[in-house]
């Protein structure tokens, strides 16, 4: 079922700014579809240890055995046999941008990645199709023991530390797509911040799909040791094709005692990408974990960043923004699981549905027995821009302890004719008025972002609003 070309555009400007593609070149591309032979090819190319090869094969069996989820979004058109599971774009990863093959570098130039790196990042990584093509950490941080690399390199260079945490937070049998990722994972980021080290600029990784029908399965593992601090940001885009692509990542985060970690996502896939991602963090004693999760693109996103509050004093924050336009379904939200007493969490979700788009908030609050003095606050606001668009809320609560303090608030509002008229009477066009109202609506989350990303977010929202007014 190929959707019409005009239908797959998110906003008028997506196609030229992000939806472009360059000629596909690869040094290796697996056949369409997935079997144990493909797994061996991936493992061979990566020349990885046997334990990882076995891990992959086991995960594939789990993937094949697990049924397709029937809750959440519509996955009935997802055809696993159409997908290329591994596409290696270049022979080697670059340590400088000059080492990156020309077309690939041009793509990242166009997306402004090297420029951002210069301006405001402590480190930067870039993945193209299945492999990381560039990774760089500024010397200052490297000399203080920070490790920031792609996950394949980490497996080669820091096997001990990787092996200690890998798949302990999201095991392969967690869900069908976590199993898929475990079987075919490639690329992704590995970060280790040593005790007490505070990385004060963001570390960024950018994920780009270029070829048709490609699956991207990055595997990210981030470890924030005791008293350390860091902020990791991921961005992503893809060309607008009329055939589907698949992005199924697994992200695991560990925040140790007194650590403070923030993970920001600006998801801007083209609207032919299925985005099915498992993100989970464990927060230990007196630590703070924050997910800032913005979903603007994709055809269907199913993603619920979660935080396990493992020890007293841990705090978790999930800020989620979802914008669903034409032919888009954002099934997003968050999960907080209170495993220990004296822990607190906060979920703020803001969704915008327009142009027939659908957004759903799906959230879980779980408090285990004997977890006294737990504070949870959930707030979800939905803004519906027109009568064709839809918003749903699925808040799940599993509270097995009496001595807890839980707040839940949900609002749904339709964009007000009065607001529009008021702004237009001051000279704003309908489009400008719409985008101003939407920017204002998500401002409580955008203001949490570093300035550069806040600007980017507002620009993306504007882009998405363009073309939404007929």
């Amino acid at each position: 079922m190929a959707p019409h070309k005009e239908q797959i555009e998110i906003g008028r400007g997506y196609k030229e700014k992000y939806g472009f593609h360059v000629e596909e070149k690869s040094v290796f591309k697996s056949k369409r579809g997935l079997d144990h032979g493909v797994i061996d090819q991936i493992s061979d190319h990566k020349n990885e240890p046997d334990w990882m090869r076995e891990f992959r094969h086991k995960a594939l069996d789990i993937f094949l055995a697990k049924p397709m989820p029937t809750w959440g979004g519509d996955l009935t058109h997802m055809n696993f046999d159409e997908i290329y599971y591994y596409l290696k774009p270049a022979e080697h990863k670059g340590d400088t941008w000059e080492d990156v093959p020309e077309e690939i570098k041009r793509t990242f130039d166009k997306l402004g990645i090297p420029e951002s790196e210069q301006k405001f990042l402590a480190g930067s990584g870039a993945q193209y199709e299945s492999e990381s093509v560039y990774h760089k950490l500024k010397d200052e941080w490297e000399s203080r023991g920070v490790i920031f690399s792609d996950t394949d390199s980490a497996l080669r260079e820091h096997e001990d530390i990787l092996k200690k945490y890998f798949a302990t937070i999201v095991p392969p049998n967690d869900n069908k797509f976590a199993a898929l990722n475990s079987a075919v994972w490639s690329g992704g980021s590995f970060l280790y911040v040593p005790p007490g080290v505070k990385v004060d600029l963001p570390l960024q990784a950018y994920f780009r799909i270029n070829a048709k029908n490609v699956g991207q399965f990055e595997r990210t593992l981030l470890i924030c040791d005791e008293g350390a601090q860091a902020h990791y940001v991921e961005g992503c885009t893809a060309p607008s094709y009329s055939t589907d692509s698949l992005h199924a990542a697994v992200v695991e985060v560990v925040v140790k005692q007194g650590g403070r970690f923030r993970y920001t996502t600006i998801q801007n896939w083209s609207s032919n990408v299925y985005n099915l991602v498992t993100k989970r963090a464990q927060a230990f004693k007196d630590s703070t974990m924050e997910w800032v999760d913005a979903n603007l693109g994709s055809k269907l996103t199913m993603k619920y960043p979660s935080i396990y509050l493992m020890e007293p004093g841990a705090r978790g924050d999930i800020l989620s923004v979802a914008c669903a336009g034409k032919n888009q379904h954002q099934d997003a939200g968050g999960k907080v699981v209170h495993v220990a007493p004296h822990t607190s969490s906060h979920i703020l979700s803001k969704s915008v549905s327009q142009n027939g788009g659908r957004s759903s908030y799906r959230g879980l609050v779980k408090v285990y027995p004997k977890c006294k003095d737990v504070k949870v606050n959930v707030c979800c606001d939905a803004l519906i821009m027109d009568k064709d668009s839809r918003s749903d809320t699925y808040p799940y609560m599993e509270i097995d302890e009496k001595n807890v303090n839980i707040g839940h608030e949900a609002t749904v509002s339709k964009i007000g004719d009065e607001q529009l008229f008021y702004l237009r009477s001051r000279g704003l066009s309908e489009e400008q008025a719409n985008s101003m109202i939407v920017s204002g609506f998500i401002e409580p989350i955008v203001k949490e972002l570093p300035m550069e990303y806040a600007v980017e977010m507002n620009r993306l929202i504007q882009l998405q609003m363009e073309g939404s007014v007929g």
């Binding site: 007000g416 004719d417 009065e418 607001q419 008229f421 008021y422 702004l423 237009r424 009477s425 001051r426 000279g427 704003l428 066009s429 309908e430 400008q432 101003m436 109202i437 920017s439 204002g440 609506f441 998500i442 401002e443 409580p444």
Partner: protein
């Protein structure tokens, strides 16, 4: 006599199947202040919204010319561009959008369309806004607050005047700017409107009100009494005096809501 700025002839307005304005004529010339007075439900806001182009307010008959242009088919933003301004009876909150950002965006939108007047205003915006806020006794911190979000009634009205002063329109339609203001706030707000009129000698104002007390400050040249969608009486300031002394009943109008006794008569001290 100044040039005709707004010319309304035999205007009929329909809102959701109801004909609210039923044959209204009004001419406002440059530099004139007109008051339109009427009880609740007489159609004052309907007239104001329609002039500003609010969707759903349908002109079924008659004509509206502004500054020589037929504006009936123009979008609200095009009317703003042409120099029309409406101070809302109930200003709308836009959460998450700061006053400063909103004003700059509005000015940018207006000047983008190539109107030189707004480009000039934009050049000195930062300096002017401080001055205007001071005059309106608005705390400078309000520039960073979200537009009308959680503002008191009086703060919202002052915010409308701040926008009036910023945008310097040719015609200001003030819809019950006086309602809900105490004496001091009314004075501050009226001074703001006066300042705009003094700065722009050709500019005009259409002051829509239920009570005459704002007219103590904004001396109108003409007063019109609106009842059930029609102007039933027009004249000079003496009409407002008659209304103050004898009430709407003197005009044969049933005013369901007499409201509080207005403070300070038209002969008052101001």
């Amino acid at each position: 006599m100044g040039k005709e700025l707004l010319k309304i002839e035999n205007l009929h307005i329909r809102v959701e199947e109801n004909e609210i304005i039923q044959g209204l004529d009004l001419t406002v010339r440059e530099g004139e202040v007109h008051a339109v007075m009427g009880p609740n439900g007489s159609g004052k806001s309907t007239l104001a919204y329609t002039l500003m182009g609010r969707p759903g307010y349908e002109i079924t008959k008659g004509s509206v010319c502004f500054d020589g242009q037929d504006i009936r088919e123009m979008e609200p933003e095009e009317r703003a561009q042409a120099g029309l301004f409406l101070s809302f009876q109930y200003p709308i909150a836009i959460p998450g959008v700061t006053v400063g950002h909103f004003l700059m965006t509005a000015l940018a939108a207006l000047s983008e369309k190539g109107n030189g007047r707004y480009k000039e205003i934009r050049k000195t915006f930062r300096k002017d806004i401080k001055k205007y806020m001071e005059g309106l006794k608005i705390d400078p911190a309000f520039a960073q607050r979200y537009l009308n979000d959680g503002f008191s009634g009086g703060e919202k009205k002052r915010m409308e005047i701040l926008q009036l002063l910023t945008l310097q329109p040719k015609l200001a339609i003030m819809d019950e700017t006086d309602s809900g203001l105490d004496i001091d706030a009314l004075k501050v707000v009226s001074q703001g409107v006066s300042e705009y009129l003094v700065q722009n000698p050709k500019a005009s104002a259409l002051v829509i009100t239920h009570y005459q007390r704002i007219l103590n400050h904004l001396k109108p040249h003409f007063v019109h009494i609106l009842s059930k969608g029609k102007i039933i009486s027009s004249g000079g300031p003496e009409l407002a005096i008659k209304l103050e002394n004898e009430g709407y009943r003197a005009f044969g109008i049933e005013d369901r809501e007499p409201g509080p006794q207005p403070e300070g008569g038209i002969h008052g001290t101001t």
